[in-house]
Point group: C2
Chain length 349, copies 2
């Protein structure tokens, strides 16, 4: 990445778009002033919003698009008829080299389908994965896949391990991340065949990661490993289960503090400490699911987020683009021996 | 169930057995005085413990067993060589009609394997499932399978729905429980084929339950449905992820209250309210995973629990046995049309 980074934004994606997208970009600009923006969407709505933010307007180019992908559109439909949507055009900008990364808070299924078709997968990667990070007892961890591939074979899981590790080094700044395969027990004989085979390979391959072995659901929040690798079905359920449980505890806590006068007084005294807790576990801080494994970086923001959350998603996109995430994956992905052999053969012939 | 209920206890199962088992039975006796116990295990260790509790001793028969299943034994090994273990003999007591239900805090894999082999599945049930209940925003819900079957087809999932619904009525006292299938989205086209097919059948079959459709991970703790049906791999990961997240929040809460003098004072004021919160979310209250679908009731207590948790597991066993859980399943399981037909043919011949 030479010179300034350009970030493509799907200005029409998300429940509160385009206002939230423009406000989020304005916030992100304070943290990363050296970024230019390409905003795709309805210029009649984006223009007036930008007019009120001259600083952002100076670094932003609006690219008018007549269509937008709706939140409930099926991926296949969006793929076929969505050529002129803000989402598709924003992805095209990355494919064409006009932007280094794309951020959208729109329909996840459509975004993944379009990104896969337009950007294609990196060499050595059969399928892209969705990754995200979240708070643990020890800091932060990354989990993937969170829903791009409902069923995964051993190859997919090994590739996810390499991508997750590169992500942990790029975004979390870890030197040698530990990687665990999510399973129903930690013993070698547990789980599906695909998991057991992936574990066997991760133990023998030389990779820039420390393979811990199997981890269980409770190990996720405990922070036992830095990277949790699983199939998209299990990962999606685990992530949402954790979110639901966190919400249950917040709600029970709220009820507890409202249970009596003394409890309410107690809350007032502890409030500064609770503000810190709230900041640490704020879902907006962990906003931004990354599509890993594509020839271009695509970050998905939560659809319901606000400008603070969207600015954080832009921040993650910035880290991935400027720290050469994809270059790392290309270098580190183990090539199957057969392929190397035939390359040499081809060169010899 | 006529006359007094007899509960078979694996007195040697669990980290703190047999002390915890005997103490748990003594506690359970206060709540359910009309129960007799058959305790299987080392009489030289159980005898002195019972001698100190004359009330319990009067309703307990010790059945000496020379062996015990170790916590890390593989299921297959325990199955072959475990004929004289306390676990196996306790299950045998249910199969022979000497006890109405068995409770063990021992090795889960061994317990499931032995229970399956000795008790066999109920008519219409292809595979047993492990179920448990837990707190939600709306009260309590049941989830199954939690690990007995890593992969499930549509038949299994439909059977789990019927069993889970019978369980919710028996143990949670619900009249017409709502049932949801755990998936990665709520739309019809989401998920594996087995889930989609199970959903189609649950929509058309006449069953004593209200089928809600698909639910997602965050719906579990929200209490969107009373019964969550899933395969054993996903269920195990979801349950443990929820436990891990709950532990993370307790830990963050503890740190928050220790963060400053004012926060500590705040905790002191709110302490009575927090005691109630703690009681509501106490894992011991939700101790007891039930093996459903067998011709005999088997309750698995957490291995690391104390006497309070074990007494709760006995309480769940009591409810299942006295409220005719298995009789309900036998009545309510939809029979495949073909089977009914051939029964009639056979009777006509």
């Amino acid at each position: 990445m030479s010179g300034r980074l350009t970030i493509a934004l799907d200005a029409m994606g998300g429940d509160h778009a385009p206002d939230m997208v423009v406000a989020g970009a304005a916030l992100a600009r304070e943290r990363h002033p050296g970024v230019d923006y390409l905003m795709f969407g309805d210029e009649h709505r984006i223009g007036p919003l930008l007019a009120r933010r001259p600083g952002l307007r100076d670094v932003t180019t609006i690219q008018h698009t007549p269509d937008a992908v709706s939140g409930d559109a099926k991926a296949a439909v969006a793929l076929r008829g969505g050529r002129n949507t803000s989402m598709r055009r924003a992805i095209d900008a990355v494919a064409e080299g006009r932007a280094g990364v794309v951020v959208s808070a729109g329909n996840t299924g459509a975004l993944m389908a379009m990104a896969k078709m337009v950007l294609k997968t990196l060499p050595g990667i059969d399928r892209p994965a969705i990754a995200s990070f979240f708070p643990t007892q020890r800091g932060e961890s990354v989990m993937l896949d969170l829903g791009a591939n409902l069923e995964c074979d051993a190859d997919n899981l090994v590739q996810f391990a390499v991508m997750g590790s590169a992500f942990a080094r790029t975004v979390l700044g870890l030197i040698e991340p530990t990687v665990g395969l999510l399973n129903v027990g930690s013993e070698d004989q547990k789980g599906h065949e695909a998991i057991r085979e992936a574990a066997a390979r991760l133990r023998t391959l030389t990779l820039p990661l420390r393979f811990h072995g199997f981890v269980e659901g409770n190990d996720i929040a405990a922070g036992k490993v830095d990277v949790i690798v699983t199939d998209g079905f299990t990962g999606n359920v685990a992530l949402k289960t954790a979110e639901g449980t966190a919400r249950l505890y917040s709600e029970l806590l709220r009820r507890t503090f409202e249970a009596s006068f003394l409890a309410r007084l107690g809350y007032l005294l502890a409030r500064p400490a609770f503000k810190k807790l709230k900041a640490r576990t704020d879902p907006r801080r962990y906003n931004g699911a990354m599509f890993l494994g594509l020839r271009g970086i695509c970050v998905k923001s939560h659809g319901g987020t606000d400008e603070i959350g969207f600015a954080n998603a832009i921040g993650v996109a910035f880290d991935l683009a400027t720290q050469g995430f994809n270059e790392r994956i290309k270098e580190e992905m183990p090539r199957p021996g057969a392929t190397t052999g035939s390359d040499i053969d081809a060169a010899a012939v």
